[in-house]
């Protein structure tokens, strides 16, 4: 594993051969690996490796709401807690959740809520815990993607899955799925998520400067990339049941 001693940014983010520093093409995703049902105690859980990002998500619910005054009489509530491990970043993070983590928890809650039928669960809470064990750029996208998978694994009725990816600009060119170094040294970063039941954008943030045309292009590129990740999500969920089927029928059909 390559090691950095100093947190220095390179001046050029493209190599001589036109590829990105990690050898990817402009719109190539980092390798993605997903697994569901990794945390036995949880009602649903998922694990995602996205490049160097390693994220666990667990869902508990519907269950009692603590503190009680947050409960709503006519519908359930969704609460998402995004946390990063102290060792997941270059400089050790303080153990207590910071402002950044609270904000990301909130935007992920807002992103996932539209796909749930919360009105069916009055007075209860669904709690999604997302813990980032290793971070290398794009953790909010990875977290959203893995949280949707954990919700599905918990068997909670959903309108559809949610998928997320970031598009950014490095050295003047639009690229898909920014790595940590590209995120810090690059010019612009646009993370977004899609709810597949209506194919609309449910998470959107943007930092940097872009022309109108570039923003339009970003959203188109994002949709292409998200469609690829969506397939991996579906495969992962299906594989769980194929495995169960094989175990119960002894490897038969």
């Amino acid at each position: 594993m390559p090691l950095i001693i100093k947190d220095e940014y390179p001046t050029k983010l493209f190599r001589e051969d036109g590829k990105r520093l990690d050898g990817r093409d402009k719109h190539e995703l980092r390798p993605i690996k997903m697994k569901v049902g990794v945390i036995h105690n949880a009602d649903g859980s998922a694990y995602l490796e996205w490049g160097n990002n390693k994220v666990y998500a667990a869902v508990y619910g519907p269950r009692e709401v603590h503190p009680h005054h947050l409960a709503k009489p006519d519908r359930g509530i969704l609460r998402v807690f995004y946390r990063m491990a102290t060792f997941s970043v270059f400089d050790r993070k303080r153990p207590a959740p910071g402002r950044r983590e609270k904000e990301i928890s909130m935007i992920i809650t807002d992103c996932l809520e539209p796909v749930l039928f919360l009105e069916l669960y009055p007075g209860t809470a669904f709690e999604v815990f997302i813990d980032v064990m290793d971070a290398d750029g794009g953790t909010r996208c990875a977290s959203t993607t893995v949280a949707a998978l954990a919700l599905a694994d918990a068997g909670i009725p959903m309108r559809s899955l949610v998928t997320s990816v970031a598009i950014g600009r490095i050295d003047g060119e639009l690229v898909t799925d920014l790595s940590g170094i590209e995120d810090k040294a690059g010019g612009a970063d646009l993370p977004c998520a899609i709810t597949w039941f209506n194919e609309e954008i449910s998470l959107l943030q943007f930092d940097g400067d872009m022309s109108l045309d570039e923003i339009n292009q970003c959203l188109l590129l994002a949709k292409d990339a998200m469609a690829k990740i969506y397939q991996i999500q579906l495969e992962t969920l299906k594989n769980k049941y194929i495995t169960i089927q094989q175990e119960t029928t002894g490897g038969g059909q």
Partner: protein
């Protein structure tokens, strides 16, 4: 998924009934561990890491470092601190918020076992006397809780230290410069202290309580041992232990510890960074 805060009387009686016959509900003997599964150096951002599973209990530990000033009473020694976090992701029994008693106990018991065992070579973590030393942070995160976090945490802390690779620095006219080399686990770690936890229900004692056993335990005893010494003991829970029982447990810990140390072969997890 079927974790309860309260174990039913009938289940409790079943566990006790089995223990009386020297049997466990998961088919183990009284002095057997569940299966160990260990992975190392998997977190790219950390300077050493471990992923340890003991049965269904799952702990991920990472090591980070900072360069800071030494304590005035030991000016030539680095510092190694251990923290544990019981993530609410790991069990419905864990709640959000600042560390509670259970996570502090976990961190402290693991810390004491390591601290008193000539394990971390703090003198090797000194950059310049009185001025700069390494401060190592070993942070444990519980991913799934199925009983006996202490033993799993102890091994994961050791594996993170063994797999560590901290950049070597030196002070040149008051400024820190990196030499480009790394201080690795074989320099930092010497002894391998293992912590063994026993549960006690009525007058029955057994190794490595799983979750239902831990929930009905009246008492627990954690004993850290190196190759030839006991380095820390922690008794917790409302049970009492007789002197003979404590003697027996220390004796057992030495025996089982030896076997476990050989079985796990922790030195295989060191990494080479030159």
């Amino acid at each position: 998924m079927n974790i309860k805060r309260i174990i039913s009387k009938i289940e409790k009686n079943y566990i006790i009934h089995n223990l009386k016959k020297e049997e466990r509900i998961d088919g183990r003997g009284l002095w057997e561990y569940r299966n160990w599964k260990i992975d190392h150096d998997l977190i790219a951002s950390a300077e050493g890491s471990a992923d340890v599973q003991l049965g269904d209990t799952h702990v991920i530990t990472g090591l980070k470092y900072e360069v800071g000033e030494p304590f005035p009473d030991v000016p030539d020694e680095g510092v190694c601190t251990i923290m544990a976090e019981l993530l609410p992701l790991a069990s419905p029994l864990f709640e959000r918020g600042p560390p509670d008693e259970q996570s502090i106990e976990l961190a402290r018991v693991v810390d004491r076992g390591i601290r008193h065992a000539d394990c971390v070579q703090t003198k090797k973590l000194c950059i310049k006397e009185n001025e700069a030393v390494y401060i190592l942070f070993v942070d444990m995160y519980v991913i799934n809780y199925a009983g006996n976090l202490i033993d799993a945490g102890g091994v994961s802390a050791l594996v993170s230290l063994i797999s560590s690779h901290v950049p070597e620095g030196k002070l040149v006219e008051g400024n820190l410069e990196w030499t480009g080399k790394y201080i690795t686990g074989d320099t930092i770690v010497k002894e391998l202290p293992l912590v063994l936890t026993y549960g006690k229900i009525e007058d029955m004692i057994f190794l490595d309580p799983n979750l239902p056993e831990e929930l009905i335990c009246e008492g627990r005893m954690s004993i850290s041992v190196t190759e030839d010494k006991v380095t820390s003991i922690q008794k917790s829970g409302p049970a009492t232990f007789s002197v003979d029982e404590i003697k027996m447990l220390c004796q057992k810990s030495m025996e089982i510890g030896k076997k476990l140390r050989k079985g796990l072969d922790l030195w295989q997890y060191k990494v080479d960074y030159k």
